[in-house]
């Protein structure tokens, strides 16, 4: 579900107050860049996609059904939840290390970032939890982005540095939250010890339970 209008209004109103004389179009255009940076760094926008695996076939195209564009493969699990070695050398195409003997279903986890087109009001299409959860943090990125523009009414290099620094800190914090799968006080999320390998032979991304070391 995309962001609600009330959340978008709240976001834009905050931005209008801080960025005197900035246009909505300019704010929204800068928001796209800031959000893209946010998602690319934090990997906080994830989606699980089921694929029907056919015997002796290793390449599968995946398409996100909840919007956005695929960025990184986080992992593949089978119907029992066990990790399957796989890579994504081409964006949107999963390559399994080993073909299966029977037809089955795997679940592919990917992280995503923004994609065009935007919604009818040109606001980027993001999940409904983004603005309530991260709107404040993204606003700091927006302020930093716009205040660093040259020779505009809202230009303020000193405050741009302040906001960008806070934005960097927020991104780092959010990335850690994501690695811990948004739990408090836990370690970075992994499968039980028995399931992971310490070599690269598994050929899986670092976000996968099987880790590179």
């Amino acid at each position: 579900m995309p962001a609600t209008q009330s959340d978008i209004d709240q976001y834009l109103n905050q931005a209008r107050v801080k960025l005197t004389a900035a246009s909505d179009a300019g704010i929204i255009a800068a928001t796209f860049d800031v959000m893209r940076e946010w998602f690319q760094y934090t990997q906080s926008w994830m989606e699980n996609i089921d694929i029907a695996v056919l015997a002796s076939t290793v390449d599968y195209d995946i398409i996100p059904v909840e919007g956005g564009t695929i960025m990184t493969l986080l992992g593949v699990v089978d119907s029992n939840g066990l990790p399957i070695p796989a890579l994504m050398p081409n964006i949107g195409t999963i390559t399994l290390q080993n073909p299966t003997n029977t037809n089955t279903t795997y679940t592919v986890s990917v992280s995503k970032t923004l994609a065009l087109p935007n919604d009818k009001n040109n606001f980027p299409i993001v999940p409904d939890w983004v603005l309530p959860l991260y709107g404040y943090q993204i606003l700091h990125g927006l302020y930093g982005n716009m205040m660093s523009q040259k020779n505009m009414a809202w230009t303020d290099q000193k405050w741009a540095m302040y906001h960008l620094k806070r934005f960097q800190n927020f991104m780092a914090s959010a990335r850690t939250d994501v690695l811990r799968r948004r739990t408090l006080g836990s370690q970075a999320w992994t499968y039980p010890r028995a399931n992971y390998t310490s070599s690269q032979r598994g050929g899986v991304s670092t976000g996968n339970p099987a880790r590179f070391t």
Partner: protein, 144 residues
């Protein structure tokens, strides 16, 4: 009987822009000093000037993406696609161009003033006072 309030137009259509420009130009009674065609040219040029200084205002205008900035051929009810806070700028821009074509010294000054107001609204800087065109009034009296 209460006082009848004139309905406020939020400068939505070409008619609104040209109509308001005529108010500022004190050109409300036919035959007009400035024809509709002349004011249309002025409005179209004001939009081009606006694009030069604030291209972000036109980012999502599909017309711009395909054919260039929105331009008009007639004074009618065609919508001028512009964000509310910046609409007034284009009325002042229209007036500025209209006045610039007059061959009168006082009008040159007034044209500059309207142009300054337009830029002030677009760029968000403190606007200059509209200067007096009375003879003998110097620039010093215009400073804030």
């Amino acid at each position: 009987m209460g006082v009848t309030m004139q309905t406020f137009s939020a400068l939505k259509t070409v008619e609104d822009y040209i109509g308001d420009a005529r108010v500022l130009l004190q050109d409300l009674i036919a035959p007009y000093r400035y024809t509709d065609a002349q004011l249309l040219v002025a409005l179209n040029l004001a939009l081009l000037e606006g694009f030069r200084t604030r291209p972000d205002l036109f980012i999502f205008d599909r017309c711009y993406a395909k054919d260039g900035i929105q331009q008009f051929q007639a004074v009618d009810t065609t919508e001028v696609r512009m964000e509310l806070p910046f609409r007034a700028a284009f009325v002042f821009g229209t007036c500025s161009h209209a006045l610039a074509r007059d061959q009168e010294d006082t009008q040159d000054r007034r044209s500059d003033d309207f142009q300054n107001v337009m830029q002030s609204i677009l760029l968000g800087v403190r606007r200059k006072k509209l200067s007096s065109t009375r003879p003998g009034v110097t620039d010093a009296s215009d400073t804030e």
